[in-house]
């Protein structure tokens, strides 16, 4: 009689096995949460970075030709299309870094001091190879990376967006 009742219940081994499988599944499911959150954050960052680049390009385009700095973000813009790094200079080489301006933006896409930044904008002007006079299109390479504390030339950032802009300022 007692034996019958004992077999009707789950044995400890069965329960342990069941718990083990359940734990394995749960761990797999919960392990996906950080991945999902990270992907979501990346998507947000990419949207924000695209917005920053769009705003910066608009600002650069809106800078009158006589101005040396843009109005909204204070980015130096060469008045001579021939100034900037040579075409042969590779990104992050010494010649490139020397001509790169760096700015920080917060999560709202507004310019802030570097310590408070979430996104780092690197602006490099590239010499227009076909320009023979100061006039002509100014070439600029814009790169937004995040987090802002990371220098994209020394450490790989967690994400980046790059854009090339030609400014025909009048």
């Amino acid at each position: 009689m007692r034996k019958l009742r004992a077999t009707a219940a789950f044995s400890l081994v069965e329960v342990t096995l069941a718990l083990g499988i359940a734990a394995f599944c749960l761990i797999a499911v919960f392990g996906l949460i950080p991945v999902g959150v990270q992907t979501n954050r990346n998507a947000n960052s990419q949207t924000a970075a695209t917005n920053i680049i769009a705003a910066v390009v608009s600002d650069l385009r809106a800078t009158p030709k006589a101005n040396t700095t843009s109005t909204q973000f204070g980015i130096s813009v060469p008045t001579d299309a021939r100034t900037g790094v040579a075409q042969t200079c590779l990104p992050c080489a010494t010649c490139w870094v020397a001509q790169t301006q760096t700015f920080a933006f917060d999560s709202q896409g507004q310019p802030v001091i570097p310590q408070n930044g979430r996104y780092r904008l690197s602006v490099t002007s590239v010499a227009n190879p076909t320009a023979t006079a100061p006039g002509g299109a100014v070439f600029m390479v814009l790169k937004v990376t995040w987090p802002a504390s990371v220098d994209p030339c020394t450490v790989t950032p967690s994400g980046s967006i790059e854009n090339f802009a030609m400014l025909d300022r009048k």
């Binding site: 999902g36 998507a43 769009a54 600002d59 909204q72 009048k170």
Partner: protein
Amino acid sequence: MPSDAITAVASDVACGVLLGRLRRDVLSRLCVATACRGKAQRTAKRTDGFTLAELVVTVGVLVLLVLLFAQLLKSAATVTTLGHKQMDADAQARQLLDRMAVDVAQMVKRSDVDYYLKSSAIGAGQRNKLFSGNDTIAFYSAVPGYYPSSGAQSPVSLVAYRVNPISTSARYNKLERMGKGLVWNAVSTTDTPVVFMPIPVASPIPLVELPNPAPNPLPAPAWPAIADSGSDWSDVEGIGPQVFRFEYYYLLKGQTDPTTSTTYAPILSDIPWDTRINSCCATAGSTLCCHVAPRGMQDVAAVVVDIAVIDPKSKLLLDAVDPTGAKLRRLNGADGLPPVLVDFVAGITPGQLLAQWRAALDANTVGLPLPAISGIRVYERYLYLSPPTLLTP
């Protein structure tokens, strides 16, 4: 072997509270199977199942774990929701500002066409057009629009933006864009084509800007509905359903006065022409540098647009505490009082208006629910104007 098994099971179940009880339980169960049958018989009742106390403790631990995981899920959901809110607002702002950038870049910049623009100019005969709260802008742009079903389509549309001020409209307090495709002049008897000066777009032109002698009767605006806050617009689309505040001003070029050679730096202004260059006004017949009208927008380098966007989830939160929309109207000034998200005033520096808006939202004098504040985002974009090519003197 039993002792080994016990150790293995015990180390598997890493739950401190239960450890002692389980070990006892395991011991008694194993005893049943092996040597100490006498002991098992003595504790026969124990082997039948778990006691209530054991179950209570087990369920308690389970509940604790579930609560922990629920917390984890909740915080993950909060982060995701906040991210989605920001993305909703960002996406809305991006498509709107990109559309505006195209419209403004393609603006028809000729001194023989009229513009409907804000201006704080108060000189004699100058059009003073200031908006408390949300602004309205209208201009010709070389972009496609909603054309009439007949007539020869011209490449020019009349483009206008405003936040709908009509409380009965489905687009009330939402940004709308008019894209009125225009037909060529003299081909249609029913549709209004591009009109040239002295026929104004929306508001009457002061006498000073009209040719002398002034036409009699004075030409009436071609599309008076644009200037009328009580009129519905035609050929319109709700381009920014989440945008409830729209403000713009101008970035004026740096210029040199041709008479005195004084150099002026670029400034932000709410007058679409440079009022600083006045020296040549004294010279008889010289109107080239002395402006009292936009004159082909020749002094304007860019139109600076500021918008405030509330994402749909935050809008629902806001609607729950504010079903009449009074708080939103207080923010954008649709109730007729000066808006909390302030208007442009002369003398502000780049980015200052946006900073003032954000400070006003953070100060929360309107009494918005806190989660809704984080869902309101503000944007500023400099929309550049390509230089005028077809200027008539």
